[in-house]
Symmetry: C2
């Protein structure tokens, strides 16, 4: 049984708390939040605190707060004997100044009202010594089948890659949906191509899977599309089409 | 039994020919290609021709050639009594000058060496009268569970939306893969977030699903990402981050 204290109340912290509650090998001993009333009711059975100096003894402390707050929270936890982890993709492990430190970065996009199965979420871990690596790996494997040791430098790159394949991809979906709704076309006509686009890159590299007017340098179609677009979408269309047509 | 003549030899024509061959309600009576030797060997049992004036009698003629060639091919088929269809998303139905015309546009990205099940591919159809609509709908439903009547104007918008959710999304995957490979990170760490991003928009709108540093206006992370990027990727990162941060 691994005893865990969770510090934070955002989307990721909420998903983690739910996953810990469901896991028989993990005991969620306490949840910290600056404002006790921001801890959701479904965690009423878990001890709560709004004082960082009152954290209970635990094997692992997870700081799941906004990136800019990690350093300050860590600095207030100097006396803890447990392993102190943050959950940020973009933050170096070295911002933690505790006795034992590490990173527990689940590579997924966490939206509050969207349920998730941690079993298939890649968890990228890092710590500063081989003993803590063992503890951390064991802990991560209680939650996920996909555990990777990734150091801070690589994790930052991975986080950047995730911005492209998640945040920016989602924005492309947003524009696609807007074009559909403006023209009274059901967005679900696009679901199959969206799914297939995501699946195809498992057996073809993205460059092998690339199709479309920009890739085949079909200037007539490109021009006819550009006429349809307003200035913001036009900028995106033009820049991405140029990038694609420059690949070959 | 619907008799079909297929005109063309590209990715889509090849996938269509395979689907027709497998379908007991469709008889693929002939394949046309300018160069007979460009018709794949797996279609050896189907009659072939390289002369548009020698097309066999059929119920439906499918012109599946590059967008710029559709008009010229159609003009050479004036005498045909069957329904002449093109398969292009970006091309108006009116470029066809035959006696009976229509559009059969499968909304999917066709890559030659990637197998496809037509059953779940949306097929957008259009013709010029109600009788041909019935024939065309019946034919499309032999191949797919998802048949939509979409006119030329809407189809053009839909095709544009598909460029965003397929071509541009795939380019985001390409950049993500490059960042991974440059940093010796296995690209498959990103498969789960790619899948989840595609799935999430079935129960949340893309705008509700949006996350990331641009959406939460986290300038520190945005700046730290920009430092990592070369000029082409930086342009894309900056433009898309601005677009996302302007949503709210």
């Amino acid at each position: 049984m691994i005893r865990v204290v969770l510090i934070g109340g955002g989307n990721l912290a909420t998903h983690l708390a739910l996953a810990f509650q469901k896991n028989s090998k993990i005991e969620l001993v306490q949840i910290y939040n600056r404002s006790l009333n921001r801890i959701e009711n479904k965690f009423n059975s878990i001890p709560k605190t709004d004082a960082l100096e009152s954290l209970l003894p635990a094997d692992i402390y997870i700081i799941s707060v906004s990136d800019s707050a990690i350093k300050a929270v860590s600095a207030k936890l100097k006396k803890l004997k447990g392993l102190v982890l943050h959950t940020s993709g973009a933050t170096d492990c070295s911002v933690l100044t505790n006795q034992r430190t590490g990173v527990f970065y689940p590579l997924q996009s966490f939206t509050k009202n969207s349920s998730l199965d941690f079993l298939n979420i890649p968890i990228c871990i890092e710590s500063n010594n081989s003993t803590d690596n063992i503890v951390l790996e064991q802990f991560a494997e209680m939650l996920s089948k996909k555990v990777y040791f990734i150091d801070s430098k690589k994790r930052k790159k991975l986080h950047l890659a995730a911005v492209f394949v998640n945040n920016f991809v989602n924005h492309m979906y947003h524009i696609g949906e807007e074009i559909c709704s403006e023209n009274d076309i059901p967005f679900d006509v696009l679901y199959p191509i969206i799914d297939q686009t995501a699946k195809k890159i498992r057996h073809l590299s993205p460059i092998e899977a690339q199709t479309g007017p920009a890739f085949r340098k079909d200037t007539k179609t490109l021009d006819s599309h550009k006429i349809e677009l307003n200035s913001n979408r036009l900028k995106i269309y033009t820049l991405l089409s140029e990038a694609i047509s420059n690949i070959k």
